[in-house]
């Protein structure tokens, strides 16, 4: 959005999401496309325009199922958008659906689109178990062996160990360039900014409490109930622990650096299935269909940084937005920084307070300042409701819109750290009054 002056205003007019459902070791009740479809049908049904009037559908998803190639198109057709609405899938790892919103916003700003459905979906519980390369090679040779002799020979070389699966999810959550798991990168940023185990656990407890309160107070109207074929229904994010307490969390063992680490499963984001959507519209579309406006997409930024410290991505992506828009920290009413790890969110806060880091890494003259934690992730986040990789970006943007509306606030910042060493951020604005 560099050429801001010539570009058109982009509005977010509505949105919805599924409850985020904790992965429980077996494939969950809904695939990625089921999640995306079932969380959007009511959203589309309540619009004053037909689904076929979208200019395009963009969906973020990094692990679509084998039968969900270009999952965005599968979902768009299942939603009844019709054959003439093009659809495409985007990947930017943890920020895939912030990317889809950014793409939608760009096309509207440029005048190529008027109405776009953008979101993300991930069924983490469907992450595949893969055959090892050795097994794939053996099987390939066996299938192409022509005669019984060579088949028998290959059979004699078969070992049960060949069947040991490769767990797709673990591969996805590791950085192949630096050889670290995501959890290990969190350990690194924790070390750099001296984040204690105690601070991480306290942050995690707060995340659960905040989400539970938001549920209790009925402030999560963005959730659409899902229904499965067994007569069960899913109303709420089911990973929330109202009874989470710091003593109990202190007993957990670290999971990434097992011997001496600080990052546990309880102060990391949960593995969940979920989908989230927003509808973006141009000024003309808002007028034509008399759409209610939730917020404007004002600016966005993508930043790259050291992959081993990917958790600091938000600090890098949000800083230029503040500068470009001549904003001080206090000007932003609400902050949503995706909770991949408690350590990483806290490290981002610390980084902005650290004048040396700000000068050398973010190229500012001094420290940016301290984000008020009372305005940061006020209704919980990835730790309490999970981080279905492709869906989290759209969820935090959607929730930020609702926060601005509920509190009659003006500006909000949404940001995520991105595995592989990136950060993404988006500035939203709403006319308060």
């Amino acid at each position: 959005m560099a050429s801001k002056k010539s570009s058109r205003t982009v509005y977010i007019v509505d949105g919805s999401r599924s409850p985020f459902l904790k992965a429980r070791g077996v494939p969950g009740p809904f695939t990625a496309s089921d999640l995306a479809v079932n969380s959007a049908r009511q959203l589309l049904a309540r619009q004053p325009f037909e689904p076929a009037e979208f200019d395009e559908v963009i969906l973020g998803c990094i692990m679509p199922g084998a039968e969900e190639a270009n999952i965005a198109r599968v979902v768009a057709l299942r939603l009844g958008c019709g054959k003439h609405v093009p659809a495409w899938t985007v990947q930017r790892n943890c920020a895939s659906s912030m990317q889809s919103i950014d793409c939608a916003a760009q096309n509207i700003a440029m005048g190529r689109s008027e109405l776009v459905l953008a979101g993300g979906s991930e069924a983490m519980s469907y992450a595949p178990l893969l055959f090892s390369k050795a097994m794939a090679t053996w099987f390939g040779k066996f299938s192409s062996a022509r005669d019984v002799g060579s088949k028998l020979k290959l059979l004699s070389r078969f070992r049960p160990s060949l069947l040991t699966p490769v767990i797709g999810l673990l591969k996805g959550l590791s950085d192949p360039v630096v050889g670290l798991s995501m959890g290990q990168t969190a350990e690194i940023v924790a070390h750099r900014f001296l984040i204690t185990r105690q601070a991480m656990d306290a942050y995690a407890v707060q995340s659960h409490q905040r989400l539970f309160a938001a549920h209790e107070q009925g402030r999560l109207s963005e959730i659409e109930v899902l229904y499965d074929s067994d007569g069960k229904y899913y109303e709420h994010d089911d990973g929330v622990r109202a009874d989470a307490n710091i003593e109990k969390l202190a007993t957990l063992k670290p999971v990434f650096d097992r011997e001496f680490g600080l990052v546990t499963s309880a102060n990391s984001s949960q593995i969940t299935d979920g989908a989230a959507w927003v509808i973006l519209a141009s000024e003309a579309a808002v007028k034509k269909h008399q759409l209610p406006v939730l917020a404007r997409v004002v600016d966005s930024e993508w930043a790259g940084l050291e992959p081993a410290q990917m958790g600091l991505g938000p600090a890098h992506a949000m800083a230029p937005i503040l500068k470009r828009n001549k904003l001080k920290i206090e000007d932003v009413d609400y902050w949503e920084i995706n909770e991949a790890f408690a350590a990483q969110v806290l490290a981002c806060v610390e980084a902005w307070k650290d004048s040396q880091y700000c000068r050398s890494e973010l190229h500012t003259r001094s420290a940016i300042g301290e984000i008020d934690q009372a305005r940061l992730n006020v209704d919980g986040g990835g730790i309490s409701l999970g981080h279905p990789v492709g869906a989290s970006g759209a969820r935090i943007v959607l929730h930020l819109c609702h926060l601005l509306e509920q509190n009659n606030a003006n500006k909000g910042m949404a940001s995520l750290c991105i595995g592989g060493g990136q950060g993404g951020a988006m500035l939203l604005e709403r006319d308060s009054g």
Binding site: Q42, A45, R78, L79, S229, Y233
Partner: protein
């Protein structure tokens, strides 16, 4: 190339009223069936007259091969023209009609060149028998293709060679199963069973046909193992087994056709020629008997209901159902199954979830193919906030039976509806005129009354109040046709037609119980008459609490006495199947069978059946007198499709005519003197002529 060019015959065309043929560059004849002035191909007398001319022409031409195809969009051939059955005056005439078809297909089979039937949709009865007389069959691989010999559903069995040719082709066990059940199969199933040689998508159909004619592969017959069943040794054994199977579904005295088919096959299947002769004699005999005549009449009445809504300019796409209980949920599921987008509204997820579960099970059972199941699931949208109201073409209310609640709902949604949306209620007991009182446009309210279970009961009562506009009645009927249900127009009055006629029958059954007749005997009397289920078991199945509440509502309006025995059961919390105890005992939804009263033999007095059935006849007459229903035929078709009233008897009014009006009136008088004034003949009897 040049050799071919020399031998190439000129393209030849010839046109009849119902047929036209054309040769192609390979000297193959393409014979198009396109019945004049009809949207559907059927074999009628005039079609056969021309078909013989076609066959003569073909013998003369002696082409490389013959491909028979349909020019109709909707399918291939539906079978015989059933209306002609009703004009038959004697067994001899029936025999004549059958022999015409038989000899036509014999001639077709005897043609010296390869013949092929190109099946592009339904291929039933006579159409199937014609196809069986061809050397090859190719079917369009689409959902609209259905093959079968459903004659038994009309009280006859195949008569144009089907009983001989189908067992020859696929073996007796599979063939007899198809013919005895009358069920139809998909293209894929037909291929698997060996009925067709190939299935192909539309784009390959004609090429596939041509390739087969030119290649002339071996003509298919049942394999050696399958053919064993057709041998003289095996036939009596299989016949015995089949009779036992059929007896479970239909007693011989009511439904003679399947038994006649088994006899025919057992005796004559060894010899093709005799089989054909005897097939014709057997069908002619069946055609002139009551059951076939009544079933044919029911079939034609069903067609009459199907034609309602025809030509109405209304193509509903989105249905909104309010109330996700058993009825609302199942109506929503059925509409989604039939291709409509459905929003299903209720107050809380816990009310919607069970409906979604039942719907998904229905889709799985009916659609089988995963992507079609998924599409149906995607079409059924849970709607907690009623967002579907404003965009739906039909809004169906199916909330609790409470006038104020329904009125309140209507006043909330009326202003949201699109101008041409029909507002429907599934009420079974509240008069429409009361419900429309509070509407700003009372003419838009129409009753669309489904029966439970929705997926099984074909009938839907279209209920009109005083204010209901003709346009909305028509639209409601069209909607029913869009979802493959039979619309029956009735006037709003307590119980409408079906429940009103059924209720005195159920109450009489309870009175019989009070008189000391064992439940099993009462039910036996009803099932022996031909009802699909006895009234006591039916009451238990519907739920005694529901029966009582309907009986009380109707009782008040119609002066019906509700038997104490029913009230006591409900007070004791014995509701029937759902509570495990009603008039019978149930375990896991299954009846626990007790012994019939020890000293009572199986016999029972004629009074029992008459007490039950005559209650229905009397109430039917009352409905006609009050104008609840248009005519006697509509009473019959309504009761047959709404309650399963013995189809072979042709419905209550047809049964009354069969026994004689005066006989029934006299019988009512006898019953009245014996059992009280509830048997007093309705004054409408005087008007029935």
């Amino acid at each position: 190339m040049s050799k071919k060019a020399i031998s190439k015959k000129p393209i030849l065309k010839r046109q009849w009223k119902n047929w036209h043929l054309e040769t192609d560059e390979d000297d193959i004849v393409w014979l198009h069936f396109d019945k004049a002035e009809s949207s559907t191909n059927v074999f009628s007398a005039d079609v056969f007259v021309e078909f013989f001319e076609v066959l003569d022409q073909l013998s003369e031409m002696n082409p490389k091969g013959l491909i028979i195809l349909s020019d109709k969009e909707n399918g291939f051939i539906a079978g015989a023209n059933i209306e002609e059955f009703t004009q038959l005056e004697s067994e001899e005439q029936a025999l004549e009609l059958i022999r015409v078809g038989q000899s036509a297909f014999d001639k077709l089979e005897a043609l010296p060149f390869p013949t092929l039937s190109l099946i592009n949709g339904f291929c039933l009865g006579g159409g199937m028998e014609m196809s069986l007389a061809c050397d090859y069959r190719i079917a369009l691989d689409e959902a609209k293709t259905r093959l079968g010999l459903p004659e038994v559903l009309l009280g006859i069995h195949p008569g144009w060679g089907g009983t001989m040719r189908l067992p020859r082709l696929i073996g007796a066990p599979a063939a007899m199963d198809l013919m005895l059940s009358g069920r139809t199969v998909s293209a894929r199933a037909a291929k698997k069973m060996g009925i067709v040689d190939h299935i192909a998508p539309q784009r390959h159909l004609k090429r596939a046909a041509k390739i087969l004619i030119l290649k002339r592969p071996v003509i298919r017959t049942a394999g050696k193992i399958r053919a064993i069943a057709n041998t003289g040794v095996a036939r009596p054994l299989l016949a015995k087994y089949l009779r036992k199977q059929v007896a479970k579904r239909a007693p011989e005295e009511h439904y003679p056709a399947p038994y006649a088919l088994i006899d025919l096959w057992e005796k004559y299947a060894g010899d093709e020629k005799t089989m054909l002769t005897e097939e014709a004699i057997s069908v002619a005999r069946l055609m002139s008997e009551g059951t076939a005549k009544n079933l044919v009449r029911v079939f034609l009445l069903q067609e009459r209901l199907k034609s309602l809504g025809k030509g109405v300019d209304f193509q509903p796409k989105h249905i909104h159902v309010i109330g996700a209980g058993i009825m609302g949920g199942d109506i929503a599921a059925w509409c989604a199954l039939k291709g409509l987008t459905v929003t299903l509204q209720d107050r809380e997820p816990k009310f919607i979830a069970p409906a979604i579960k039942r719907a998904h099970a229905l889709f799985k059972k009916r659609l089988k193919v995963p992507y079609l199941i998924q599409a149906a699931k995607d079409r059924l949208i849970p709607d907690l906030h009623g967002t579907g109201v404003k965009s739906a073409d039909v809004v169906i209310e199916a909330i609790i039976e409470n006038k104020e609640a329904k009125q309140k709902l209507f006043s909330q949604i009326e202003s949201l509806l699109k101008p041409d949306t029909i507002l429907a209620t599934n009420t079974s007991s509240i008069p429409l005129d009361e419900l429309s009182e509070t509407l700003q446009q009372p003419d838009r309210l129409v009753g669309i009354h489904f029966f439970n279970p929705v997926a099984k009961m074909q009938l839907v009562e279209i209920v009109e109040g005083k204010n209901t506009s003709q346009e909305n009645k028509n639209k409601a009927a069209k909607f029913c046709r869009c979802i493959d249900r039979l619309p029956l127009p009735v006037k709003s009055s307590p119980g409408f037609l079906v429940n009103r006629i059924l209720m005195p029958y159920l109450m009489e059954a309870v009175k019989l119980l009070e008189d000391g007749v064992p439940a099993q005997i009462i039910d036996r009397a009803a099932t022996d008459f031909g009802m699909p289920m006895g009234p006591i078991l039916l009451a238990d199945t519907v739920g005694l609490d529901i029966c009582l509440s309907v009986a009380e509502i109707l009782g008040e309006a119609l002066g019906l006495n509700v038997p104490e025995a029913l009230r006591k059961k409900v007070e004791a919390g014995e509701f029937g199947v759902k509570s495990g105890q009603g008039f019978y005992q149930y375990q896991k939804g299954k009846q626990v069978k007790g012994k019939v009263n020890a000293n009572g033999s199986d016999s029972y007095s004629e009074d029992i059946a008459d007490r039950l059935i005559l209650q229905m006849l009397n109430e039917s007459i009352a409905c006609l007198r009050e104008g609840v229903i248009g005519d006697m035929d509509m009473v019959d078709v309504g009761m047959i499709f709404g309650t399963g009233f013995a189809p072979f008897r042709g419905g209550p009014m047809h049964y009354m005519e069969h026994r004689g009006r005066q006989v029934i009136i006299d019988r009512l008088k006898e019953l009245e003197s014996q059992y009280g004034e509830r048997f007093a003949a309705d004054k409408g009897w005087q008007a029935v002529g």
